[in-house]
Symmetry: C2
Subunit: 472 residues, 2 copies
């Protein structure tokens, strides 16, 4: 067994028999794409062996081999995750799905698209648009993130408010279990109560119960109009009131409601060369409202009338009705995470709680942090309409050492609101120590029971979400 790579228990030659030698990478041939996520975070993985299957059958053969040998496997998509789930440990085989990149079927009759796991979200969006349809999932990382990753993490993003998370946008999933069994659940029907709905075992379980290889995506009719207002608002309560008023006045049309605290907006201001700043003044909070409709004749007037009716809730607004204007206003919002992810060391969070309490929660966190770091600053933004905010904590620290203290404060303050430590990013390694803040012991035990049932040798993404053996 001289061909074994140090620490691994499957031989590269065996893998090469399955996928061909050119798709097994070792040593210097392993590029940064397999060891780092796209954000270039603090944590870097150690990849010794990478395999790139080209078919589902190859995925199955690889997993059969690994399951027999007790070889841990980490699945990789676009490496845009924020919780470290895709970063390999030295003893793990990297299973990259990058070659499963085919769009297999677009079916306007059922409004579905069937794609392989490695297809990017942006490719799906563009192909849907060619059929006058839309796949409503939308993330800033759309150009790199893959459908397999979106499914495995139940991705959220900008339009959950109107269309739901990935879970609601996927009709069927094909997965490969740890033992190599291919579970073909590529159903296309919105109503199907014929037995257990197995796709939920693979959606949002971060690759720990099976490898998602294909998905049937649910498409929607493309809206005929899309308008955006970028508003400076006088207070958090005004933003919430604006949300509810517009949802009531424009039912089924408010497709995004994004908020930015002034600290987040400030991150974009230095980049006027690349981003057009829409407002003249500064405000406590900014919101980007997107309205999607079907009537080019009247939607513009309806949207401006609805906004005019909320006059006292808006200090200043910029309206975008042409596609180029809409894109320009979105660019302000989208620049924020790009800038926030450049903060080092990054103490970043993604929490959810009932919308109305978000400002109170942020204030409590800030107050508790200030007891330790008097000059602390929070960069806050996110999907206000979904009760989901992201924030970065700037303590002035230069290392990650104090992160656990920050985390205790951030997560500890969620309890009175019934909040979640992860609205959309998942758990991975990053948030594992805090899962108890959100989930009961019986829930954790049941998760582990599922894991043992579907992956008895624990080869799939071991340690992601919860440790395999001890109490999490």
């Amino acid at each position: 067994m001289s061909e074994l790579t140090g620490g691994l228990s499957v031989a590269s030659t065996k893998l090469a028999e399955i996928v061909g030698p050119e798709h097994v990478l070792q040593g210097d041939a392993i590029g940064a794409r397999y060891t780092q996520d796209l954000w270039g975070g603090e944590r870097i993985g150690d990849a010794r062996l990478v395999v790139r299957p080209g078919t589902v059958e190859e995925v199955a053969a690889i997993l059969r081999l690994c399951d027999g040998a007790g070889q841990p496997v980490v699945v990789q998509g676009g490496m845009t995750g924020l919780v470290g789930a895709g970063l390999p440990d030295a003893n793990e085989l990297v299973l990259s799905l990058e070659r499963l990149d085919r769009v297999e079927d677009v079916d306007p009759t059922t409004r579905t698209m069937t794609v392989q796991a490695g297809v990017t979200l942006q490719a799906v969006q563009e192909i849907a648009a060619q059929h006058d349809l839309v796949f409503p999932l939308d993330l800033t990382s759309r150009g790199s993130c893959t459908i397999g990753g979106c499914v495995a993490t139940n991705a959220g993003g900008n339009r959950v408010l109107l269309y739901g998370m990935t879970r609601e946008l996927v009709l069927g999933v094909e997965s490969v279990l740890a033992d190599g069994t291919v579970v073909d659940g590529l159903h296309k029907l919105p109503k199907n109560n014929a037995g257990y709905d197995l796709k939920h075992l693979f959606i949002g379980t971060e690759g720990t119960l099976g490898v998602v290889t294909r998905a049937v995506l649910r498409l929607r009719p493309a809206p005929r109009t899309q308008q955006v207002a970028f508003c400076g608002v006088p207070s958090f309560d005004a933003a919430v009131a604006l949300l509810h008023r517009l949802q009531a006045d424009l039912p089924g049309m408010v497709s995004a409601f994004e908020a930015m605290w002034d600290s987040a907006y400030a991150l974009v201001l230095p980049h006027r060369d690349e981003v057009r700043i829409p407002l003249a003044g500064r405000h406590p909070l900014y919101v980007l409202v997107e309205c999607s409709g079907s009537d080019p004749g009247t939607d513009g007037d309806r949207f401006t009338a609805a906004l005019a009716g909320c006059d006292e809730l808006i200090a200043e607004a910029a309206l975008g009705q042409e596609p180029v204007e809409v894109r320009e206003l979105w660019r302000v919002r989208e620049r924020i995470p790009a800038e926030a992810l450049r903060i080092h060391p990054l103490f970043g969070f993604d929490v959810s709680l009932p919308t109305g309490y978000i400002a109170e929660y942020v204030e409590r966190v800030e107050k508790d942090l200030r007891a330790h770091w008097p000059a602390v600053d929070l960069v806050v933004f996110g999907h206000l309409g979904d009760g989901n905010v992201h924030f970065a904590v700037l303590t002035g620290e230069t290392t990650m050492e104090k992160k656990p203290l920050v985390e205790e404060i951030v997560y500890g303050n969620l309890a009175p609101y019934g909040g979640s430590i992860s609205a959309e990013h998942g758990i991975g390694f990053e948030k594992r120590p805090y899962l108890r803040h959100t989930r009961k012991q019986a829930e954790l035990d049941l998760m582990r029971r599922l894991k043992h049932a579907l992956d008895p040798h624990g080869i799939l993404g071991p340690g992601r979400v919860f440790p395999l053996e001890e109490s999490p």
Copy 2:
């Protein structure tokens, strides 16, 4: 152990210690509510012992006792199911959740309602309305069916088109596992990616993986306007075109699109004393379109303008804009299943397939049936907007003997369309032999693997959905 009821392996005295003797029923004290479903079908259960817990802790204690003794249990809600899952076998303990009938919390901040499993759907609807909110799930059996049953069967109904099935309307579930473990997953957040989303283990699994004891329901703002048009249409294709046209013209507003073949409409005509017949003529097909909106000033005009724009697709229409008119038109549609369920012997079906192919499918089924029964008639109706039709087959048979032949034809014809043998009613006992028509072997194996993991002694609803041991 003289107190053991024949065939059962837990003693009534042990159960009485848990729930009090008045809530353990035996012999003549067991009424028809525990042995028959509300439809009075051909199949009647045999209940020897009934236990009626009043708390979740009592449910847990009962299941612990049964799990230890290997005692099979059948859970009962409102007994409105159509696939026989709630009917007891003589060796099963009936676990009736009728006493878990409390609405525990209505939270307008999060737009949620937390209820115990035995609360009826109608009670939930009425309480939501008191808060100017709506729980959009709606079934003809609303007055009897319970939330526990709706969750366990992932109920569909009249407004799936706009709001989704029960799965989409439930944020959290509390369940008791076979071994008595209470899994409290009563989350209220629409976005929560903190670990596996366990509620999907209990939604739509027909009580075979756990007993649903509480649920957090997602409420929506009540629509301010509701209008209905009852239309006679010249053809199936006209009905589909009407659906797509109205959905495009009134996005987010078409909340129901129900179809009735003339054979179904004919069932209502003899009941003019109770149901006002809205149209003067007879047509190949009828549709009931419901439009829900938020603007009392303009919604009426928008709806009538949209209908007027579809003039060539509608032969005759009756419009209901006042609540009493809306209710009258719905009554026509709702009378149909009530009448269809009185057909004896009832060969009834609930299938889904891509909407555009429904008429073609029905014609193929009719043609194949006619080869055996030249005078066969099909009573067809259902949720056309969801690709879901119900139908009763009238062969002229007087016994159920030939049902398997009818079923083979009905289910066999689904394959070319990728259809499902159960859109919303579930599998239970009734459709178990045909699950293979819709699901792959690997899916069936995975269902069984889940069942063994969560209920290793097989005490929960044994034999529902699939047989425990052999290949299904």
